[in-house]
């Protein structure tokens, strides 16, 4: 079967892919609960409000893909994936943003835990991906540099 990349991109954009719906739905259902997490101005507070704890174990099984230097701080592409079993959610934090919690993805049972999004970053910061699986928290982090650019030779 050949479904090329452009078709997939279009399908996702059209909202026909299951993943689109599954990410949206819980957000509405839990809006009241997550509001304090999204409004928190410290990463620890945001993690506690969202996940119940600010402690997540560094794990090589969490893959966080982000650039070393952002081409454009306004839209920094990141991908988080893991092969862990029973993944419930993936959340992404930017420590130096005014509101560190950027996104939470609810992963329905049986779904591949592989999400991509774009972050807005005002300055250089640690970016942390937290995977909740079997009720426990696992993380991977990476510093992404935001620079004024220019002056390259």
């Amino acid at each position: 079967m050949s479904m090329n990349r452009r078709t997939v991109v279009k399908a996702i954009a059209a909202g026909s892919a299951l993943v689109g719906a599954s990410v949206m739905m819980p957000r509405v259902a839990m809006a009241a609960w997550t509001e304090s997490a999204f409004k928190a101005d410290k990463q620890d507070a945001a993690m506690k409000a969202l996940l119940g704890s600010a402690d997540a174990a560094d794990s090589a099984e969490v893959t966080l893909k982000a650039p070393d230097i952002a081409e454009n701080g306004a839209v920094v592409p990141v991908t988080v994936r893991t092969k862990m079993a029973n993944v419930e959610s993936i959340s992404i934090f930017v420590a130096n943003n005014p509101n560190p919690l950027v996104a939470e993805f609810i992963i329905p049972a049986g779904t591949e835990a592989d999400v991509s999004t774009r972050l807005r970053m005002g300055k250089t910061s640690q970016v942390t991906a937290v995977v909740k699986a079997d009720g426990k928290l696992y993380s991977a982090a990476k510093e992404v540099k935001v620079t004024i650019g220019g002056c390259g030779g």
Partner: protein
């Protein structure tokens, strides 16, 4: 105006097969045969040029006296200057080679040995190196920064250099400043280029893919805009060549010209590509033509395995020998071949039984007086320049001292540009980017419009004059300093420190970002107040287009007015904690 012997020779189409011009002076005395006599070794010859910055004619180019290595780069190639560099590579001082590879006694030696580079001279040398080895066993690779840097490349949107590289016979290239034209122009230029344009690390954005970029990109599934690699059978061996474009193009240069493309180093993707090529194509050798810059190439060579040779550019380091980097799969040779057409790298490889068994390397300086110009190339260059000669040749001012740019901090030509910005745009202070291109003018020689263009010619030349707070100025200096002095090469973006006019500062390259710059002080002795506003003039804005006149006109107006290019005060920082660094010499403020 007097015509030089070389210009005369070009005009007459006078040229030997590859040897000497009938001449007097240095060229007559020097036994040049040994310089370009490279013994044949192995069965594959890779000829490597890079970063010519569209210099079609011979030029002067002064190597840096400041090229600091910080952290793991301390004291290692390419971060060696002057005697330290000569000692490291075993080059005798006061020789032609010492002049080629170092800044030492530049003015005197440049007068003695003459200009370097020039496409007609490079062509003669390349022909000789190909024919002497067997044309079918050689490849000519160009690391990019070829389509930008001169008045003619600006006027023709890089097409002059496409024609020149076609005439030269470049087989493969990759790019950086090539991406400072518009997307469609770049694609058109590549179409007109007879060789292959390779870049594994330029990806299409999802948005562009959605809008129909699949019409022209190389591969929709990987997202690669350009062909990532090619195979070549030569000398009985299968050689894979991968292209690595400058990974920080959209950070160092305007993203607005190339909105649909995204760049990075892409280690993981490169490792996958190397592994795939090794498995499917069964190559005997894997070569990368790279525009990473030497520090990034050295780091990449330690992190990605399975590459035999990286032919590198970007940082304009003329390294007489490659650096050998050990990694999981054995070793990788990392080369860098300078800039402005000054050098041709010759990498001879002995490839047998499915692997590289040995190598012989020479970095040949192109001394124009020792190589007759190739007549066909000379004619092409004359034709390219013909519509613009009045503009290019205008004499502006006499150089009071050697005018140059290259080095981590202000060069003399930068100071002229910074002074011109302040005076012409009525600003307290000025900023000028620390590009590594820009040719040199000897003391007492005429600075022509062409020289100003060599220093300034890019596709976003508009100037600005606007108020900035002291804290904004500091932020700019800190960010640029981190792009050079961050000990992690992947966090560097290449280039040298931003040049300043009207103020001085103290810089400690060893400190982390935010703490390197201090004591910013105006020329009148007043400390720069972080909360006060200052009128700042500059050029080459990467974000939005500025509204002021083009930088070359600002500089030319200033020089016409002054008639002498003279520096009254060089605004170069006082440096801390680098006095013993082998990457600095003859620097006054330590």
């Amino acid at each position: 105006m007097s015509m030089s012997r070389r210009e005369f020779a070009q005009l007459m189409g006078l040229a030997g097969a590859a040897g000497l011009l009938p001449t007097t002076g240095f060229a007559a005395k020097k036994q040049s045969a040994d310089l370009y006599e490279v013994p044949n070794f192995g069965n594959v010859r890779l000829l490597h040029i890079t970063d010519c910055h569209a210099q079609l004619l011979p030029v002067y180019f002064r190597e840096p006296n400041v090229n600091l290595g910080i952290g793991p780069a301390y004291g290692k190639a390419p971060h060696l200057v002057g005697d330290k560099l000569l000692n490291h590579f075993g080059i005798a001082p006061n020789t032609l080679e010492a002049h080629a590879f170092s800044y030492l006694k530049f003015n005197e030696a440049a007068q003695k040995y003459g200009k370097v580079g020039g496409f007609a001279h490079i062509k003669t040398l390349v022909n000789r190196l190909r024919e002497g080895y067997g044309r079918d066993k050689t490849l000519l690779l160009d690391g990019g920064d070829t389509w930008q840097g001169s008045g003619t490349s600006y006027k023709t949107r890089g097409m002059d250099m496409v024609k020149a590289t076609n005439e030269l016979g470049v087989d493969i290239m990759t790019g950086h400043w090539e991406f400072t034209y518009h997307q469609e122009e770049i694609l058109n230029n590549i179409k007109a280029f007879n060789g292959e344009f390779l870049a594994h690390n330029v990806m299409i954005t999802e948005d562009a893919l959605f809008e129909g970029a699949d019409e022209y990109i190389f591969d929709e599934d990987s997202g690669r805009v350009f062909k990532p690699y090619m195979m070549r059978e030569m000398g009985g061996a299968r050689v894979a060549i991968i292209g690595q474009a400058f990974p920080r193009t959209k950070i160092a240069n305007p993203a607005r010209f190339i909105p649909d493309w995204s760049f990075d180093i892409f280690d993981r993707e490169l490792q996958e590509l190397v592994d795939q090529i090794r498995a499917e194509e069964k190559p005997d050798a894997v070569v990368v033509i790279s525009h990473n810059g030497m520090d990034v190439d050295l780091a990449m060579a330690s992190r990605v395995s399975g590459i035999d040779v990286i032919l590198g550019g970007h940082t304009h380091d003329g390294m007489p020998q490659p650096t050998v980097v050990k990694n999981n799969a054995g070793q990788t040779l990392v080369c860098n071949v300078g800039s402005n057409g000054k050098f041709v790298g010759v990498m001879d490889l002995d490839i047998r039984n499915g692997k590289v068994q040995g190598f012989n390397y020479r970095l040949l300086p192109v001394f124009s007086e020792l190589l007759a110009p190739d007549p066909a190339m000379a004619k092409l260059i004359t034709d390219i320049r013909a519509p613009y000669t009045d503009w290019l040749n205008e004499e502006l001012a006499v150089a009071d001292e050697v005018m140059f740019r290259r080095g981590n901090f202000n060069g003399t030509f930068d100071q002229v540009i910074c002074d011109a910005l302040r005076e012409q745009l009525d600003a307290q202070v000025s900023l000028s980017p620390g590009f590594r291109w820009g040719t040199s003018v000897l003391e007492g020689q005429m600075v022509r419009m062409e020289h100003v263009l060599d220093q300034t010619c890019l596709t976003y030349p508009e100037t600005y004059a606007r108020n900035m707070k002291g804290s904004d100025l500091k932020l700019i200096l800190e960010d640029v300093a981190d792009n050079i002095f961050n000990p992690e090469p992947y966090l560097q973006s290449g280039g040298d420190m931003v040049r300043v006019g009207g103020f001085d500062y103290v810089c400690d390259p060893m400190k982390p970002v935010g703490q390197r710059i201090s004591e910013m002080t105006l020329d009148n002795g007043e400390k720069i107040d972080m909360n006060k506003e200052y009128k700042v003039a500059g050029w080459a804005t990467v974000g939005a287009r500025s509204e002021g006149p083009d930088i070359w006109d600002v500089t030319a107006n200033y020089l016409r007015d002054k008639k002498v290019a003279r520096i009254s005060k060089l605004n170069t920082p006082k440096l801390k904690n680098v006095a013993n660094n082998p990457g600095i010499a003859a620097y006054a403020k330590l």
